[in-house]
Symmetry: C2
Subunit: 220 residues, 2 copies
């Protein structure tokens, strides 16, 4: 019985994402925050996910995702990101509009659909936010990336992803003219507040607060 319901898939995806954030065990509260549900609902869901053996659940001590759980989560993430590419590349959505729709589309269950979509999109390796798209076996080829805020002055690089992909943040980046693929050079870093000044495509200078720069990921 490895078949998950849409809700279970969503919870598992969230658990996977929090796990990847480095922390050892994932807490009920963290999940409830990300899922926008109450902790009581989470406890209930954890019991079910535990029964299906996609997580290891020790009451009061949080959860750890299992290997099968990880595989399943990566399949959902793959679908989510492929749909995001579709929405942006083919339907002219902007990168801040795709997330909610992809959150629905990711639960459509058809192997053929995803294979064909992947092919149709030209087997993309990254989604509109620069996140890697797992292959059909759940393998992700991650590229080394560093926060813009951690760069040293005069270093050059390329914006490859964003850490925060909330609509508000993405629209802000649009406004200031930062985008995935942009060639950048760190011109100045203010000691006082950690804010930075960067040169984009050898043309335009942008100022960013430390907070913003910390959510922009760069490949050297």
């Amino acid at each position: 019985m490895k078949q998950l319901t849409p809700a279970e898939e969503s919870y598992l995806k969230v658990i996977y994402h929090i796990s990847e954030g480095g922390k050892r065990s994932v807490s009920t509260n963290d999940i409830s925050f990300k899922m926008k549900t109450k902790p009581a609902s989470v406890s209930d869901m954890l019991r079910r996910l535990g029964e299906k053996e996609v997580i290891e659940y020790r009451k009061y001590y949080g959860v750890n995702i299992t290997e099968t759980g990880k595989k399943l989560a990566l399949q959902t993430i793959r679908k989510h990101r492929l749909w995001e590419v579709f929405l942006v590349e083919k339907l002219r959505f902007s990168w801040d509009e795709v997330h909610e729709v992809a959150d629905e589309l990711e639960h459509i269950r058809s192997k053929l659909l995803i294979q064909r979509l992947d092919e149709y999109l030209g087997f993309p390796k990254f989604d509109p936010h620069g996140d890697p798209i797992p292959d059909e076996f759940g393998d992700v080829r991650a590229r080394p990336r560093v926060a813009l805020s951690d760069l040293e002055v005069n270093t050059t690089g390329q914006i490859v992803a964003v850490k925060d992909s909330s609509a508000a943040f993405l629209r802000y980046l649009d406004k200031v003219g930062a985008y995935i693929g942009a060639r950048i050079k760190l011109l100045e870093k203010v000691e006082f507040d950690g804010s930075v000044e960067i040169l984009v495509d050898n043309k335009k200078t942008i100022f960013m607060s430390k907070d913003v720069a910390g959510n922009v990921l760069v490949m050297l």
Copy 2:
């Protein structure tokens, strides 16, 4: 409260389709057959749909769809058919593979998605089975069509739709070489069993049983 759940949308769509089939009131049994659920489940759903005023429900006497119900059903049908076009035109699905996937995709709720999909597909007027795609206001421009079995000998026409769009039937049509858009001429009609012989694209002759011909729709 005009928002329907996916299940409610599916029931309503089925009720709409049966209604269009000419019958006055739609029976619980007919719905249960099409929905592949038990009559008891249907009764329950009819109560809910009645409360939401998308159908008029008189216990024991079947249901009639209301005007608002019709509007909503047509929106779901629009989405279903647009997705079918997408699957066939863009993802190389064959016309017998699209139905189940479209039945899932049709419930994705995003106005923008459907607008953009429509635009991306070039505002198609018919789906892969020749059925008309309602516009965003629920208007359908139906074209006059007649069953191949009702044609007179020597009449010419064009195959524009199928009445039965089960995978088995569609694959059979593929096998014999009948397709939407084919120019045909009725060569012979056997009195004995109602079977017909047709000429396709002035090239190939096909034999069809009365049953098959009755499910192929032609425009003169």
